[in-house]
Symmetry: C2
Subunit: 692 residues, 2 copies
């Protein structure tokens, strides 16, 4: 069959597995895991494994801990340490003959184990003497869909929503099951179906029935369904005079609504709430606090073990925007109910190409926080640019907050290691749409994959993830790929691609110099009369004849003070501030001397040019591999690389020509010259979308 | 004053002359030459030279041969050899003191001599011990304006026409005199005011009065005025039933019309005629011949020593277009009146980026031919691309036709050396418009300049011309330029620029793969149902799975047979055919081995890419020189180089992606990849203009 990307990384049919498999299967055929292995087997070899009562040599045993064959292994102590989702994959010898065992305490653990085993087969790793023990880093690994009920997707670049609300619940798209399988295969166990900019409609009985239908499809894959809610729902749907969280009728309304949902969906996950942010209603509309609002909803959910994920993406005007979430939330530390998690974007502003981590991580010591990562490339070239985001997320999750001393990384301060969390969690804003290949750019699939893998194991390296994904996603009978034999040039392209986008968009800590609203192209000059200052690029870059950057040091907004020592001191001093964050924290003269020995202006120029040249290298890398890549995907990626190549030049020219009006210095003459006129670039206008 | 390019190369005010000049001037103050020197002197030093009766030491003597001071020098024999336009510039010693003499037989010779002397001063050459003797290569050095009476310019890219017909004769634009001076300064002595696609209106009494007014302005600069005529004029204006050249009334009408013109403009030059070409009327409409038509008009002009320039740009469908002009004209060799000159475009097709010379040159042994060069860049990027054309013209003029044995170059077979010509001539299609800088692109001025200089002296090297032009056109008090100190990088950019355009447009003999009608961008795929096959690119490139190029060998159209031996044999064999003409004469397989060792396909790819990279180098060269170039011209040239840079990529991508559908071979992977999609490029449509 012609490869169009619809199979994602689950390309079991692309070739016989690289390693000889098993001769029989035993265990609990009622498990979804059992089913899924047999399904994959059929695709790999045209026949499922023979099911036997008891595994013999080279047999495969798939069962939960309660199965007699597992009990006979006497692993109960070890199994107890795995929790509900961890699993073991072990080669055991019975009468000297190898048997492969996949087991876990609960069915979902077995399912994750089976997908791990399949991944070993897909990526050509050895099946002998397996001794695998896995426990997830985060307990809740959740996608956030910014999908609207009308079928559009905010910041979605892969077509309309996969949720066909108008057909639900009567019609169930076959994609729902594919979606659930793909998520389960990488350990994602929850999903928020609708946009954080939520409408009250999602809570109507009509929509609850639709949600119930989706929940029924994804449940076998151990995926819980959540929804985003609108804080004003009691007023809008319940005919109440307001939505004040301290008003008894409001509290009652939420309890009744939650009860109604759980009657239909007993394993419903809970709510994601964007409140008092970018114009959405919230408790502060009534003089109440985020804690008042979140706790009211938490109380309603508590009897059902439902969860409230309350977003900290708030920035009332007034101070340095990078400080506002911290300022608004830090005072409520320890004042949220146990089933409230504060959902915090990875950086203090808004999913910029690169941000330092949000200072809330580690700072709230008595409140569980969950990182919100953005899989969809709102600020990274949409689905036109190839940007593998695992390195960026690795950077964030591994960033040391020093909040609990050295080694208290963002992942550790959010996964329950330091702050007790009833449920540790991590969210990723999905890049999924109804495009045949799901994500628009074929390499966008790698970001979905990487989010799942990192949510499961935050210690995985980007390289490991990229090798897995490449080996599973590409290759054919003609060219078999294993984790060892993936093309090094494509691997290296993926691993460098995020830095490359940063290089040609916003290097050295520059941020938010995007075009108004669409966040795709450059518009550092943007000036819309009456607009909020912090919605304009000038607010962030502060370019002047003297220099460039945002002074967040003690002599400026003092945002550095929100970080723990020694970070705050390091960030405060340009000599110790990492150069990748330099202009995030500092306003520096154009002639500031960089570690390279170049001036700031020259370094900027070289960075933008390096970005352009590197994308051209990516084009070469891709084209060189044409001979073995399936035709449609080759062409589609080739085509997007062309767009990226042109866009990189657009970015470079726009930013350098604009900043040059301040720096008044020539672009170093060894650098390829601009091909655009600044005045022409200022006239470029694309379609607009809303904020999130 | 801010430099905007309006002064052309006559920037006397830019700086005091680089070499100390003269202390007095004597001779004939009635001469325009005398005037012009004093005018330049005023601009250079704020004061004219003192006029004295007799030149003393370091004095300057400007006079015709008949002046007593010249007669006293006893140079009459040498002067006789100069003809009417040649001149001498000599340093003589009277009583041991140097005096500089500029003299000629006729006033125009003195004028050219004075401009030569000024050029020496402008370009910082030594004024000591001058021993200059100049005689022009061609007697008639004529611009062809393709300017329409409605003010538009066909193939003009510098704005509307400089001729304000609607204001004439009442209003005389000051530009007319500037125009005349600029032309005189480079030896141009004639001009055809209107488009070869002429309307009969130009011969009405009304327009004759307008022409007379222009003639009066340019006459002091020794420039003769010509016009293009429409062969059907007697029918249209004279109410005759037809324009049959053998009809007595038609012949009488022409005689009367010519008499009418000469009554108003006694030194009128004559007519340029495009007949039976691209739909224009001509003698063949009545079963007559080019000779019948040209001779009829020649007879009318003969009493006044007027000239007919009859164009050989004809190509009735039927055979290889490159052969048609030769086929139509060769039979009339020797059958034209003495005052008829056949005007032949430099190549057999139509001003392509590169063509071999027209086989008519040298082939018509009893008929004077004049080369028609195109200064306006119809097929060379209009006024957006920097293309210095002297190297192309040098290539044409120096091409050996072998028609009269080795050494019978195109310039020699057209300048009277071999074929007796009452008046030897060369035409250049002007690139002049009403733009402040005259030519749109500032470097377009260099082509106007180069045409004049080569028409005067076909032996001048492109480098000499470029050095002169650069030193005269750029520089300032801050940065004085001489022929020796012109920036080598800009010089080298100019000298390589034509080849660069060829590289990214039509290398290796490719031709006419331009977009339909506008002749700016690429459209090798162009297919317009019902269009003449030879107006479509496919006719010229013949791309197929097997190969590329036009087979004009003995096994093909046999166009090679129109050339003299040994050229015809050389062209016939790909091993001896110059590679720059390879695909002009040959259809060759994609894997044909080039002298570089590369295949034809790879060589094409490398050529297009070299073109792109070289334009990027030009951008660097230009930008590097910013510090000393006046701001407006710097910016305007920089801006056009950006366009050229983008266009080069457009050309490269369009041609390689299109031909790749035939070659089915990858673009060598070391080459920068395309950034466009072929399908998108096929949708590009620009405005259209008409043929010429």
């Amino acid at each position: 069959m012609a490869e169009n990307g619809s199979q994602l990384w689950l390309r079991f049919d692309k070739a016989a597995p690289l390693t000889a498999g098993f001769n029989s299967i035993s265990g609990d055929p009622a498990l979804k895991a059992f089913d899924e292995f047999q399904r994959a087997c059929r695709l790999m070899t045209s026949a499922p494994l023979p099911v036997v009562n008891q595994a013999g040599a080279n047999g495969l045993l798939i069962a939960t801990a309660s199965h007699p064959a597992i009990r006979a292994l006497k692993w109960s102590k070890e199994l107890r340490s795995l929790g509900p989702e961890g699993y073991l994959i072990r080669t055991v010898r019975l009468k000297g003959k190898p048997i492969t065992v996949v087991t876990a305490n609960q069915p979902q653990g077995v399912l994750y184990g089976v997908y791990h085993l399949l991944r070993i087969m897909q990526t050509g790793q050895s099946l002998s003497d397996l001794t695998i023990r896995e426990v997830p880093t985060y307990q809740l690994r959740i996608l956030n869909h910014w999908d609207n009920l009308n079928g559009t997707v905010e910041r979605g670049y892969a077509g309309h929503s996969i949720w066909k609300w108008n057909e639900l619940p009567a019609v169930l798209s076959p994609r729902y099951e594919d979606y659930a399988r793909a998520n389960a295969s990488i350990g994602i166990n929850a999903t928020v179906l609708n946009n954080v900019n939520a409408t009250p409609d999602i809570l109507t009985a009509e929509y609850i029935r639709k949600i119930k239908a989706i929940a029924a499809v994804v449940r076998p894959f151990h995926i819980k369904v959540f929804i985003s809610i609108n804080f004003a729902s009691p007023r809008v749907l319940g005919n109440l005079p307001d939505a004040d969280p301290l008003r008894p009728e409001v509290r009652r309304w939420w309890k009744q609504k939650v009860a109604e949902i759980y009657r239909e969906i007993p394993d419903f996950g809970g709510f994601l709430v964007k409140a008092n942010s970018e114009g959405l209603p919230g408790p502060m509309d009534y003089g109440r606090t985020h804690a008042d609002g979140a706790n009211m909803i938490a109380e309603a959910l508590e009897p059902y073990k439902g969860i409230v994920m309350w977003r900290a993406f708030v920035y009332e005007p007034g101070d340095d925007r990078a400080k506002l979430a911290y300022r608004e939330f830090i005072g409520f530390d320890g004042r949220f109910h146990d089933n409230v998690i504060i959902q915090v974007k990875n950086g203090p502003i808004d999913f910029q190409p690169r941000e330092p981590f949000s200072p809330l991580f580690g700072a709230m010591k008595k409140t569980p926080l969950m990182p919100e990562l953005q899989i969809t490339q709102e600020y990274l070239g949409h689905s036109n640019h190839l940007a593998f985001l695992a390195p960026m997320w690795e950077e964030v999750l591994d960033a040391d907050t020093y909040a609990f001393g050295e080694g208290s990384t963002v992942s550790k301060v959010t996964n329950g290691s330091f702050v007790p969390a009833p449920v540790s969690a991590i969210a990723g804003v999905a890049n999924i749409g109804e495009d045949v290949n799901w994500t628009g750019h074929h390499f966008g699939q790698a970001n979905w994959y990487a989010f799942g893998r990192l949510a499961w194991n935050a210690q995985l390296s980007s390289e490991t993830i990229a090798r897995e994904w490449l080996a599973m996603t590409f290759g054919s009978d003609k060219k078999k790929l294993t984790v060892e034999t993936v093309p090094e040039d494509i691997l290296s392209m993926m691993l460098g691609s995020h830095q490359t986008v940063v290089d040609y968009m916003m290097p050295l800590g520059l941020h938010h110099i995007f075009a108004w609203d669409h966040h795709y192209g450059p518009e550092p000059w943007c000036d819309i009369p009456g607009a909020r200052p912090d919605w304009l690029p000038r607010y962030y870059h502060n370019a002047s004849k003297e220099g460039l950057g945002f002074n967040r040091t003690a002599s400026g907004s003092n945002a550095v003070a929100q970080y723990s020592s020694p970070l705050k001191e390091w960030f405060d001093d340009p000599a110790t501030c990492p150069e990748k964050y330099l202009l995030w924290f500092h306003h520096l003269p154009w002639n500031y001397r960089m570690k390279s020995g170049r001036t700031l202006w020259d370094e900027l120029c070289f960075s933008y040019d390096r970005g352009v040249q590197t994308v051209r290298d990516y084009q070469k890398i891709w084209d060189r591999n044409e001979s073995w890549i399936d035709a449609q995907r080759f062409r589609e990626v080739q085509s997007r690389l062309k767009i990226q190549s042109k866009d990189a030049v657009w970015w470079k020219d726009a930013i350098l020509l604009y900043f040059q009006t301040y720096s008044q210095q020539p672009i170093p003459y060894s650098i390829e010259r601009p091909v655009h006129e600044l005045d022409d670039l200022k006239k470029v206008k694309l379609d607009m979308k809303h904020h999130n």
